[in-house]
């Protein structure tokens, strides 16, 4: 590992100024599960900015009306072990309980997963489906960016020099709603998604029709994708296999994957459809049980 400096700012301003001053040479350390692994692969960093001492990053709050706010340094396990959160956001919980191992979940954060901006990130489609918004702080103050437009390419995102994500916000779940996330991996744990999918559906009171739906897929394009057309298609429709299949086919249609050692183009496109269907079905099931 190359040498680097370690900074522990205690305020947002302090962190922003270190980041702004060092530009690309500064990286954020929260859970460390990506950045430390990258440093071991000889990634060069001048200063590692540990944001865990900034109070806002460790805040985790949930209100049934206001929704969920997850600070940038809140590890996955802390979020999913909070029963109300797990109950209100099962789709997010699915993702958080799948990221790496228990050991990884003890440290890894959804903000880190978001900012690493891997096309195969597990929590990003889950966040997109739930309509999550990232709160970004930087030299010009705060701004909010929807997670569905946060990533711009593999490992790339909208963060500008000096900016970092302070927290991620999730709207309160609607009545009769359900979320679901799943991925396909060759093993049953400890793997990078060949493809993944998340769905969030809101049903009518009778739970026979979709009121609205959001479907997102990952690892099938340079960034995780929100399949907006799937949502438009499902809204107002009666729940049946055929319409769900059509929505899943829309995800397949938008998939634009690559072939690598983890999967082929054909396999990934196919899986985008399979997983989308399963995600929507899973979300519907949960909405019906809600």
């Amino acid at each position: 590992m190359y040498d680097f400096e370690y900074a522990t700012p205690t305020t947002v301003d302090e962190a922003v100024s270190i980041l702004a001053e060092n530009g690309e040479d500064a990286r954020i350390l929260a859970g460390g599960t990506d950045i430390i692994a990258q440093l071991k692969e000889n990634r060069r960093v001048k200063v590692l900015v540990d944001v865990k001492k900034i109070q806002e990053t460790t805040a985790l709050s949930y209100h049934s009306a206001a929704g969920l706010s997850v600070g940038a340094a809140v590890p996955c396990c802390e979020a999913y072990e909070t029963e109300e959160i797990a109950a209100a956001y099962p789709g997010l919980t699915d993702a958080m309980t799948l990221i790496g191992s228990i050991q990884i979940q003890s440290r890894a954060t959804i903000t880190g997963n978001l900012c690493n901006s891997s096309p195969a990130a597990d929590s990003i489609p889950a966040m997109i489906a739930l309509g999550a918004v990232a709160k970004i702080v930087g030299p010009n103050g705060e701004r909010e960016v929807a997670v569905d437009s946060f990533c711009t390419g593999p490992g790339q995102n909208v963060l500008e020099n000096g900016e970092f994500v302070l927290s991620v916000h999730f709207p309160a779940p609607a009545a009769n709603s359900g979320g679901f996330f799943l991925r396909f991996i060759p093993r049953n744990e400890m793997d990078i998604a060949v493809a993944n999918a998340a769905a969030y559906v809101v049903l009518n009171d009778a739970k026979t029709h979709f009121e609205s739906a959001r479907l997102a897929v990952g690892a099938v394009a340079p960034t995780p994708l929100l399949i907006e057309e799937a949502g438009s298609l499902l809204a107002g429709k009666e729940i049946d296999d055929d319409i769900i299949q059509q929505a899943a086919d829309l995800a397949k249609g938008q998939a634009n994957p690559i072939t690598d050692m983890r999967g082929t183009v054909e396999q990934r496109i196919h899986l985008a459809g399979v997983l989308s269907k399963r995600a929507i079905n899973g979300a519907v099931q949960r909405a019906k049980e809600s």
């Binding site: 350390l29 599960t33 430390i36 590890p75 228990i102 050991q103 440290r107 744990e189």
Partner: protein, 159 residues
């Protein structure tokens, strides 16, 4: 030579101070500076669990923690699992069930399993398998490990 940071932490119940570079992982400091070589490095990037330690009550891969991050933290390693009175039930059951062959993954498994039983005294087989999926064992096929953990949980419940 990079300058070193002074860190004060609690390791296995004892206040411990050490000097480290920012780039030193907790695993390196445990092994190379504190002579706690029970935590093993199997992969260095969080994929095998051999370096598992309990950090502030949660099991982590110490290869993916920087030592400087542990200022003020509480760290439990495999060396702190047994007491002068004897082995922890998990350790005893690992021996009785022959749940180790080469033994290199064993400290990580015991630490991770302890973290589970500390939280959930009566986990199912499936739950144990999920919890321990981040700990690779290449010798046993996991069978005897799973049985040992289930038996230890039962013993601790009735004790």
């Amino acid at each position: 030579m990079a300058r070193k940071t002074h860190v004060t932490t609690t390791i296995n119940g004892e206040e411990t101070q050490f000097l480290c570079e920012p780039r030193n992982t907790l695993l390196e400091v445990l092994r190379d500076d504190l002579d706690l070589t029970g935590s093993k490095e199997g992969c260095g990037n969080g994929n095998c669990g051999a370096c598992s330690v309990i950090l502030n009550g949660r099991v982590v891969d110490s290869c993916l923690v920087l030592a400087v991050e542990t200022e003020g933290a509480d760290v439990q390693t495999i060396e702190g699992v047994a007491t002068p009175e004897g082995l922890h039930p998990l350790q005893q059951k690992f021996l009785e069930h022959a749940a180790l062959q080469c033994g290199i993954c064993t400290p990580g498994f015991i630490v991770a399993a302890k973290a589970l039983l500390d939280r959930e005294p009566n986990p199912s087989e499936e739950r144990i398998r999920l919890w321990l999926a981040g700990n690779l064992c290449r010798c046993t096929g996991y069978d005897k490990i799973i049985r040992a953990v289930m038996d230890a949980a039962e013993t601790m419940e009735t004790a």
